[in-house]
Symmetry: C2
Subunit: 222 residues, 2 copies
């Protein structure tokens, strides 16, 4: 039996665990830069404001990566997590809507770093179509279905106004795309085999507002 076999993921992994994997990945990247060879669950937890037990439990869902008495090997664990998250490869991403947010995302370095390559831009504005934005020619949104198919796009980012987002996503799905990241403040309808995630930038501000008004204790008060 091959040693590196991925554990056959019986338990459903929780959303929170996956999100924390992103945090571990980030922390480990930094630890690598700082030339650490190993790191304990305690230190990893400290760096991302979590508990050591949480770190160990999260990682244990995917295998045993540490050494008792020592901790986790930084580079190995980082590689392992990038495998688990599927960011040990590149993804072909299309972005629809080259407005305020859209153009900010094109230049967002973190996406590149993690293998999310925005290779296609779409807009419906005749003044933008055909022009070169950061090295990418903006396509007409009318050609969405064909171009996304032809270009083997795997993930689509939607950054159009809320009022048209549903029409856009309907078109996108016709091209066979199974993963959508939506920045429009609207709840999109997609069939159950499509992965849809929403990025609602007002939500966290509203949380802050709520906390300020209600003296909401951020977590348990120690």
């Amino acid at each position: 039996m091959p040693v590196s076999m991925v554990p056959n993921m019986k338990k459903r992994i929780s959303e929170s665990t996956i999100h924390r994997l992103s945090l571990y990945f980030r922390a480990l990247s930094l630890l690598e830069k700082e030339n650490y060879d190993t790191v304990s669950s305690k230190e990893l937890a400290r760096r991302e404001k979590l508990t050591p037990a949480q770190v160990r439990k999260d990682l244990s869902f995917f295998g045993s990566f540490g050494t008792r008495g020592l901790g986790y090997p930084v580079i190995e664990l980082k590689d392992k997590i990038s495998q688990i998250l599927g960011i040990d490869r590149t993804w072909r991403v299309a972005l629809i809507g080259v407005g305020n947010i859209g153009s900010a995302l094109v230049s967002y370095k973190e996406f590149q770093k993690q293998g999310f390559q925005i290779v296609k831009l779409f807009d419906n504005d005749q003044r933008k179509i055909g022009s070169n934005h950061k090295g990418i020619i903006i396509s007409d949104i009318k050609d969405l279905e064909k171009e996304i198919k032809d270009d083997n796009i795997e993930i689509v980012v939607i950054a159009v106004p809320a009022t048209v987002a549903q029409y856009i996503v309907d078109d996108v799905l016709k091209a066979g795309v199974k993963a959508v990241l939506n920045f429009a403040p609207v709840n999109l309808k997609v069939p159950p085999d499509v992965y849809l995630r929403n990025e609602n930038m007002s939500m966290e501000l509203e949380y802050l507002s709520f906390a300020l008004v209600n003296n909401h204790s951020p977590k348990k008060v120690k």
Copy 2:
């Protein structure tokens, strides 16, 4: 006993409940536009992909806003939620770092709509300082502490590179700010009386990547 007394919030309200209040608010705003007078927990749930019981339970933490047999009054409930979230007023917001993301946020209409007024911009780039960006003169980041104090800023949005974000937030807190929204992909250290929320835009893409690679079932498979 006054009828409209706000229940004295004994139970700790969960983060998820607060986030769902944002969703209810959004749905109710739409329902108001569509001229609905009342809405049932069932319909509200359908519109935000939740369950009716969840909606009722969430609202029940804050009071009894519905009528049995009828549902919830759209406008009243919307107003009530905006009170709870503290967005029935305006907030003075400063944004630090007028780069890609920063400038996108300045133009982001949703913030305005919900009362978050970006009234101050800071940057460290001499070419930007003093220039007018969407009607706001960009201030020198060196004057952070004084200007934030003088201008009664209540919430600060951080959109600077990860490497300098901690220094910036340290300065911000010297000015007495108690609420920070951080877009830099780094875990900031703040004292326990400061509300800090992070907006990590790669996280949801990583979730999509994970889901695609692992055939992760988005929720329970029905």
